[in-house]
Amino acid sequence: MEKLNILVLDDDKLAQKVMAASLSAHNVEIAGDLKTALKKLDSCKYDIGFFDLLLGPEDDYSGLKAIPRAVEKGVYAVVVSGSDSDEMIDRAYALGAGDFYAKGNEEANVADILRKFLRNRKAAGARNIFTSAFITGDPETKAAATEALKYATAELPILILGPSGTGKTSLAKILHEHSGREGAFVSINCSAYTEDLLEAELFGHKKGAFTGAHEARKGRLLEAHKGTLFLDEIGTMSQNMQMKLLKAIEERTFYPLGSEKPEHSEFRIISATLEDPQALIAQGKMRFDLFQRIHGFTICLKPLTRRKGDIMPLVNHFTRGARRLSFNAEALTLMEAYPWPGNVRELKKLVDLLSSGAGGRVDAETLGKHLKGQARQAAAPDGDGLYAYALDKGLEAALDRVASGLISRSLRENGGKKTRTMADLKISTRFFYSVMGKSKGE
């Protein structure tokens, strides 16, 4: 259980001891009188405050005064008192107390309160992510992500499905952040590596294990020890690599390339693919046993065109703390009508373009130019010209030209990042270099 900072206000020495024993798994501070409690509330940060109300025989329920101060400081105020008359209960709740318990069953009550507090905090955190980290107001997407978050702390593997650019990596990161795992979030895009390179990346290698291995390198599996290993585009992994990964997942041990000493890593798997895993299995591209290992809980993210209500909240999120944009009515209509084939990633690129442009007020004409540019770049080259080129140079050369154009565009959009380009276009390293090599030779 998460370690909480707790303040206990009680004048009775035995009651203080009982509370300290019941809360021994947490950081507990004791105040025997109101003045000390208020001072502590002002100077330290607490998660929960347990307050008795009547602090001594001559006292006049001064414990009540600690409640509003605690609430003001964001502390969850709980009254544990022998004074459990209706009047006292009403007054405590009116002052902002979150709970009221009669003294006498501290061990069970305290455990209940802590459970409830942690559950509420997690639920509040889950609600906040939709306005701060994973922006969506779409009820279906919110429900699916909230359901996935319920499994964040479990060992259960999670499989995220959805088209490119829908936020699979962001969601995986959020799941890791909510997992309470002490290790790191380690991400790898399986489509960006050849089989040999992927093996070296995942399992690591010894110095001299292969040509170019000038020094030993820790693999991603080891980096993810006690953390999360996020395998993006897992559907592109070769059968051979799938078998090796499956063995590492099942045994929690693996051999770095060139090493005879096994390494141990306790990682949790989150994987993602834009393809249908069942189709991949049917086509023989994904091992059924690996699929069984990675799909404990499956979440499917919708393309942006099916959650258009998220477009403007996303724009606001991308421009938060920077230059804000304002869209006129026609521009807004255009934003909604556009199909967003690149999803949230494409929207982010558009916002970056518009933010660095001349004016913060976006009209339909400006927006149309940018969207047309994006659409034009995404569309196939001019049919007649390409046909003429194919007749002249042959179909293969024409197809190479199309591929080269699409790769160049993606490279440009990704700021020259080859791995991201290969991932976006779902192509292998070999194909990438083959096409780009041919285009250089032209």
Binding site: D12, K13, L14, A15, K17, L54, A102, K103, N105, E106
Partner: protein, 66 residues
């Protein structure tokens, strides 16, 4: 302070101390040796205070309650 308020606070104090004593007795078995010693001393002190509170209640109730 009225007699009624005094009684009510005395009863509250009595209930609180009895509750703490009960909770302490439940937690006692899981305490370390050092904690048990400390807990026992506090439980004895609470028992003495309970006895004193009962005597005060008895006094407040007037003659004929013994």
């Amino acid at each position: 302070m009225t007699g009624k308020t005094d009684d009510s606070k005395l009863l509250h104090d009595l209930r609180s101390k009895c509750s703490s004593l009960k909770s302490a007795a439940e937690l006692y078995k899981d305490c370390s040796a050092a904690e048990k010693k400390e807990m026992l001393a506090l439980m004895k002190a609470a028992a003495a205070e309970i006895s004193a509170a009962l005597a005060r209640l008895e006094g407040a109730a007037g003659p004929g309650t013994k």
